[in-house]
């Protein structure tokens, strides 16, 4: 458990540094670099001892600290004083910048909390579309679902044993083609009207799929679960709908 607490506490090397600065009441503008480096390394060691995976970023920072530390040890050239940049400058700038966002995150968390205490109206599930709207093309699963319905119906029908007609998919395609040529739109369930055997239903369905694949038919429905209509492509295609309705 304490593992997690530590992990949460230090999101990264900057976070750890800020923690040390705060803990030891260090002036961020004048960081005693050897002290902070020592403390920082102690922490890394502890993290490793706890067999925490110490992210590479922590080691990069360790290297940076040691570089700054060595730069601080170099003798300063008296004459060039105004040219010289404090080796800590970049680090301090990063720390100050990061600190601002850390504080902002704090503030965001409070706002998040406040907002979670109030409830807006939930996301709306649109009501049944208007009949004048364009029906959407259906996919294989909608068709299978519709087929399920046909089988359901079959169960409720009295079963007559008949000698199976060996209807082929090709023959069925011809029949549907003739049907659709006559009327230009057909209800999915109409194809299965009559006393069909299970095999015949399947053959009809396969014929239907084949025709959709060949682009001879388009299946559309107004909404999920609604009646599926089959159209000749270009017919009843609602694209330049002038309020034409069906059913």
């Amino acid at each position: 458990m304490p593992y997690q607490i530590r992990l949460v506490q230090f999101e990264g090397p900057l976070d750890l540094l800020l923690h040390l600065i705060r803990r030891d009441k260090i002036n961020i503008y004048d960081i005693p670099i050897s002290h902070i480096t020592r403390e920082y390394l102690v922490y890394i060691e502890v993290m490793q001892e706890l067999e925490l995976e110490v992210a590479g970023d922590f080691f990069v920072m360790a290297a940076t600290l040691m570089r700054i530390k060595s730069q601080m040890l170099l003798p300063r050239h008296e004459g060039l004083e105004e040219e010289e940049v404090d080796p800590r400058e970049e680090l301090v700038r990063n720390l100050l910048e990061y600190r601002k966002f850390k504080e902002a995150a704090h503030c965001f968390a409070e706002k998040e909390e406040d907002r979670r205490r109030v409830f807006p109206r939930p996301v709306i599930h649109p009501v049944e579309e208007d009949a004048s709207e364009e029906p959407a093309e259906v996919g294989l699963f909608d068709l299978l679902e519709a087929l399920q319905g046909v089988f359901e119906n079959l169960k409720h029908q009295a079963i007559y044993r008949v000698v199976p007609d060996s209807v082929t998919v090709e023959q069925k395609i011809e029949m549907i083609r003739a049907n659709i040529a006559r009327r230009s739109e057909v209800l999915f369930t109409e194809l299965f009207n009559g006393k069909f055997t299970k095999m015949e239903i399947i053959v009809t369905f396969l014929a239907l799929l084949e025709m959709i694949k060949l682009g001879e038919l388009v299946a559309r429905q107004m909404s999920h679960g609604a009646d599926i209509w089959l159209y000749k492509p270009g017919f009843g295609s609602y694209i330049d709908a002038d309020g034409s309705e069906h059913g």
Binding site: V8, K25, K100, F101, E103, C107, E112, R116, R117, V118
Partner: protein, 216 residues
């Protein structure tokens, strides 16, 4: 307040009708509606008449002791339940509410909010750690989105906050974000109380936003 509202047009709806229409729209909408949008939908003469209607509606809710109110958020108006019902309504949505953002996610979100548009590299430079996972989470929750590409090497994606971000934090607009000076002030206050080295183990304090009444 706006007595001369209907002198321009004889078709002008009366204030009460507009007020009720606004109420219906706010009730039905799942996103905040701007004054301009409300004006468009109701056919009200101006955004000003919308504002006065909203003012009068919220006053009415307050005075009649309703459990909801209208807030200004993400550039629009929205009906929300009052904070005091947080406990009750939370129970309704138990287990369905999305988790709070983690600390790294909040930090990253803050950086994007103040520095947008910003690349992943720039965010990582500020945080000093890799941000891949957090950015994915924020995108998935639709709080930030890719808003363009930078000029740097490989034309990196640039991220910006979304409208949903404002709504998520209940902010009116970007001016509603705390300024950096304000953040500095808050920081100074925080530092005054030095936190313990290792915080006590996270024990559920049972403060799910419910006010605990000390029945003594």
């Amino acid at each position: 307040m706006d007595q001369n509202m209907d002198e321009n047009s004889s078709f002008e709806k009366d204030e009460q009708t507009i007020e009720r229409e606004i109420e219906a729209l706010l009730f039905a909408s799942d996103t905040p509606l701007s004054a301009a949008k409300l004006a468009g939908l109701t056919g009200a003469a101006s955004s000003r008449s919308i504002l006065s209607a909203i003012g009068s509606l919220s006053r009415f809710y307050r005075e009649s002791n309703r459990s909801y109110t209208i807030v200004e958020v993400a550039g629009g108006y929205q009906l929300i339940t009052l904070p005091e019902f947080s406990g009750t309504v939370s129970r309704l949505f138990k287990g369905k509410k999305k988790a709070k953002l983690t600390r790294p996610a909040l930090e990253t979100l803050a950086i994007v909010a103040y520095k947008q548009p910003i690349s992943r590299m720039q965010i990582e430079a500020i945080r000093g750690v890799s941000c891949d996972g957090v950015l994915a989470t924020l995108i998935e929750r639709e709080l930030i989105s890719i808003s363009g590409r930078g000029d740097g090497i490989g034309k990196p994606f640039l991220y910006s906050t979304t409208k949903k971000f404002l709504e998520y934090l209940g902010l009116k607009d970007f001016r509603d974000l705390p300024s950096f000076e304000e953040l500095e002030r808050r920081f100074a206050m925080d530092t005054a109380a030095v936190r313990p080295l290792v915080p006590p183990p996270a024990v559920e304090t049972g403060e799910n936003g419910e006010r605990q009444i000390n029945g003594q």
